[in-house]
């Protein structure tokens, strides 16, 4: 990038929010995935106009632009793979409007999910998408990655909560789609195009999101099994019975032990599987559903069923669940978390299959996941410096993807394609389908400057 361009960009965002020192560049070279790339400059715009002006220059000069929030994603979506500009939106962090009577909130993209939750909680409302990173990740990032989390089982993922967007296109043009209305079919649904586009189609500069009232009551149950298969079957049976828990998470023995090592919560170390179930709603319904879940668990040979007595107990279990990704890092220098997803009735088959694959390739493997919606995290402990082992890891991953596909599942349930899954799209998509994605991309970003190297 030549100095004239740098000078122009510096003028747009002011010198205060322009960085090209090696330390800042290195700080924006990574996210939660294990590939790095160093940008040439990092900008912290604070207005839509600054972003628009920046894009006009980038588009004219064909400079790659990677948009980023907190950089917590696990697929390399925010890694500036082809260098160029990182647009970091963390300073666009104002909540512009909350109107719970009309059930919406309008936010800038850098608002942290957890901060929005806190602001909404004052009115007894919440924003349902809850990625495990919600205490730090931004709404802009959540939308771009179409993030999901434990309670998306009942409430749906981010795309289900996006009502309106302001987007800066690659050309620098600013468009507004959608509105404050739950029902709005005026034109293409903005969420359908931009939600999950991973920064490849446009830059979200403002979002109108749907919010929901906090349910009257919530109960958390922890159910223990001596056989992982029984725990998987329980989840499938609970969902199959017509009950819709807020969340149903599964951990295998390896995960239970590493969590217990780190957090000493008193989890049963000898259990082969535990499931953590949240049921929410009106008190009577919660009670009834919980009883039914207990019944199903007993029929599936549960060895122990504990109901969290206090909010603190329940919070401790969920804090542990959210920290699993970080905790697993204690096991080995690197971990690879897959998020292949299958229809919930196929979960027992999927888990059995994954275990066989791991054994065949002799890799260290454990399983945790949002079992209730079929979104599993087969997790591989490895050391990416060990080339021989990495070959086996990659072979195992491909088999896991293929298995998921055979069972009617998908490659990635919530982490996104990014750098992680881009090479494998053809396993699950026909050439015509992939061409369709490319056509959309080319029409919106003909110079391929928005987050190039990622899926489309």
């Amino acid at each position: 990038m030549n100095n004239n361009i740098k000078a122009e960009l510096k003028k747009i965002v002011t010198p205060d929010r322009f960085r090209d020192d090696p330390e800042t560049l290195a700080s924006y070279s990574y996210d939660g995935f294990n590939v790095r790339a160093t940008p040439e400059i990092v900008l912290f715009p604070v207005t839509t106009d600054e972003i628009s002006q920046t894009m006009k220059i980038a588009n004219h000069e064909k400079i790659p632009v990677t948009v980023r929030g907190a950089g917590t994603n696990l697929s390399g979506g925010s890694v500036p793979h082809q260098k160029g500009i990182v647009l970091c939106l963390t300073k666009m962090n104002k909540i512009l409007e909350i109107k719970t009577r009309d059930r919406y909130a309008i936010v800038q993209p850098g608002v942290v999910n957890g901060d929005l939750q806190q602001a909404l909680a004052k009115d007894n409302f919440f924003f349902p998408p809850d990625p495990s990173s919600f205490t730090v990740s931004t709404i802009g990032g959540n939308i771009a990655e179409n993030a999901g989390g434990p309670r998306c089982l009942k409430y749906g993922v981010t795309v289900d909560y996006v009502m309106g967007l302001e987007v800066v296109l690659a050309s620098g043009k600013i468009i507004r789609l959608g509105s404050r209305n739950v029902k709005d079919v005026t034109g293409y649904r903005p969420s359908g195009i931009f939600c999950g586009s991973e920064g490849t189609l446009g830059i979200i500069t403002e979002a109108t999101v749907r919010v929901a009232p906090i349910p009257e009551t919530k109960q958390t149950a922890m159910i223990t099994f001596a056989d992982l298969d029984h725990s998987a079957q329980t989840v499938a049976d609970v969902i199959g019975s017509g009950i819709l828990p807020a969340a149903a998470e599964l951990m295998d023995n390896a995960v239970i032990n590493v969590v217990e090592d780190a957090m000493q919560l008193g989890l049963p170390r000898d259990a082969e599987g535990i499931i953590l179930v949240d049921v929410d709603g009106v008190e009577e319904a919660v009670e009834k559903e919980l009883n039914k879940i207990v019944e199903i668990a007993r029929a599936n040979h549960a060895t122990d069923i504990q109901i969290a007595r206090t909010k603190e107990e329940s919070d401790a279990l969920w804090t542990a669940r959210r920290a699993v990704y970080g905790i697993q890092n204690r096991l080995s220098p690197d971990i690879i978390v897959e998020d292949a997803t299958v229809p919930v009735s196929r979960i027992p088959e999927m888990i059995r299959g994954c275990k066989k694959i791991a054994a065949r390739h002799d890799i260290k493997f454990c399983i945790v996941g949002h079992a209730g919606d079929g979104n599993l995290h087969p997790t591989i402990s490895t050391d990416i410096r060990n080339k021989e082992e990495m070959k086996r890891v990659e072979a195992a991953c491909i088999e896991i993807f293929k298995l998921a596909h055979e069972l009617g599942g998908c490659l990635t349930g919530e982490h996104g394609v990014g750098l992680a899954k881009a090479p494998y799209l053809s396993l699950v998509m026909s050439p015509d389908t992939m061409e369709f994605l490319s056509t959309i991309k080319a029409s919106l970003d003909p110079n391929n400057i928005l987050n190039p190297g990622k899926f489309a």
Partner: protein, 414 residues
């Protein structure tokens, strides 16, 4: 080519959950200032993929060393030893500020420190007050800096203070620099309460500065003699506990001595056995609450008290909820928790001096929330936090920062 070891950095999975817990990141909202970035930058530096620079040194200095990231890190990254090593390496490459050199010199030469304190007393109590009253040290107006003791606390007190009544045990009292040179009232309260509870309180005369202000900035080699000397004096089998009234000294004696000695390639066995004996004075009292309660007067004047939990107590020593529980047991104390009692005050040793802009924002938020409780007393067992919190209060603020031991000693029956 540097040969720094960044082994802790390989435990980091870059999940980013530390962004929430870091007071500096929360103010800057720029990745470079997050614990995650400091870990990654240290790794790149150690791998010789990122050269050292004054800017890198500055980034590494923009850390309160509060340990909140470590306490909440799911991957168990050891930030502190890594950052200390990094700071040491940066200081080696790009020099240390003259003021730090002066500080290190005095902290390693106890006799000169005493002399300096005398001058400082004259300087602080006479010169500063008269001539420099409108000046600031970092964020703190000079007139709000603590007064110096007329005589060092340890010179005022006998080395052995006998208990009242039958002797329940012996404790050693490590009265750090703050108590020794500025907060004599805290020291007196500690001795009074412990002797009333039946403990023989020994204050070893030849104890020296704990060394933390040095090694926290990377000057580990300079701190070596202080550490070894304190261990040799305090590591005694016949005592029930080594009592510390300062969260920072406590974290040094209890936590950091082993880390630093290991970094220096020295044996850590004695440091580890000392660590088992070290207790913060409030924690020691709470664990023996049944000895304390009968000594307290029932008609103590009622005051609203809130609490600031020092990072060096909460994160470094793992003392949680005990001081709050102790305060609620004191007659007359109407305890009202502040919503952010557990977050860093922004003082961070010399952070308030080095980075006043960030520090001020952090401390102002703390003050806002403490005042919201309506308390008239703000208890905290860390002189660093005390200087920072009280130094940043407005003259019109109706809240006063105080050591928990002063609240307890005031509640003792005659």
């Amino acid at each position: 080519m540097n040969k720094m070891d960044a082994k802790e950095a390989y435990d980091c999975g870059r999940c980013g959950l530390c962004l929430l817990t870091c007071p500096v990141y929360q103010n800057k909202i720029e990745e470079s200032f997050s614990p995650r970035a400091k870990v990654q930058l240290s790794k790149y530096y150690a791998e010789n993929n990122l050269p050292g620079s004054p800017h890198l040194k500055d980034i590494m200095s923009q850390c309160l060393m509060c340990g909140t990231c470590t306490a909440n890190c799911p991957s168990g990254v050891g930030h502190e030893p890594l950052f200390m090593r990094m700071r040491a390496s940066m200081a080696e490459d790009f020099g240390e500020k003259w003021i730090m050199k002066v500080l290190y010199h005095f902290l390693t030469h106890d006799e000169q420190l005493k002399l300096a304190a005398k001058f400082a007393k004259f300087g602080r109590n006479v010169v500063l007050e008269k001539l420099l009253k409108d000046f600031r040290v970092g964020t703190i107006p000079v007139k709000q800096m603590p007064n110096m003791n007329a005589q060092p606390f340890r010179d005022q007190m006998p080395e052995i203070n006998e208990p009242q009544g039958s002797c329940k045990g012996i404790v050693l009292y490590f009265a750090g620099c703050a108590t020794n040179y500025a907060y004599e009232d805290v020291g007196k309260a500690v001795v009074q309460v412990l002797t009333r509870m039946g403990y023989r309180v020994e204050i070893p005369g030849d104890q020296v500065c704990c060394g933390l202000p040095m090694f926290i900035h990377g000057a580990m080699e300079k701190a070596r003699n202080n550490i070894l000397k304190n261990i040799s004096i305090l590591n005694r089998e016949d005592v029930e506990a080594v009592i510390v009234d300062c969260a920072t000294c406590g974290s040094a004696l209890r936590n950091e001595y082993s880390h630093v000695l290991r970094e220096l390639g020295l044996d850590t066995q004695d440091a580890q056995s000392l660590a088992l004996k070290v207790q913060d004075v409030s924690e020691f009292l709470y664990d023996r609450i049944e000895l304390l309660v009968p000594l307290l007067k029932s008609d103590n004047n009622i005051e609203k008290v809130t609490y600031h939990n020092p990072c060096h107590l909460r994160n470094a020593q793992g003392v949680k909820n005990k001081v709050e529980a102790l305060l609620t047991r004191i007659p007359g104390v109407d305890f009202v928790p502040a919503i952010d009692a557990d977050s860093c005050c922004g003082g961070g040793g010399t952070f308030f001096y080095d980075h006043p802009e960030v520090s001020k924002k952090i401390v102002d938020k703390k003050i806002f929330n403490a005042k919201k409780t309506g308390a008239s007393l703000w208890a905290t067992g860390c002189p660093g936090c005390q200087v920072n919190l009280s130094g940043n209060l407005e003259e019109t603020d109706q809240i006063r920062v105080i050591h928990p031991m002063q609240i307890v000693s005031k509640a003792l029956a005659d």
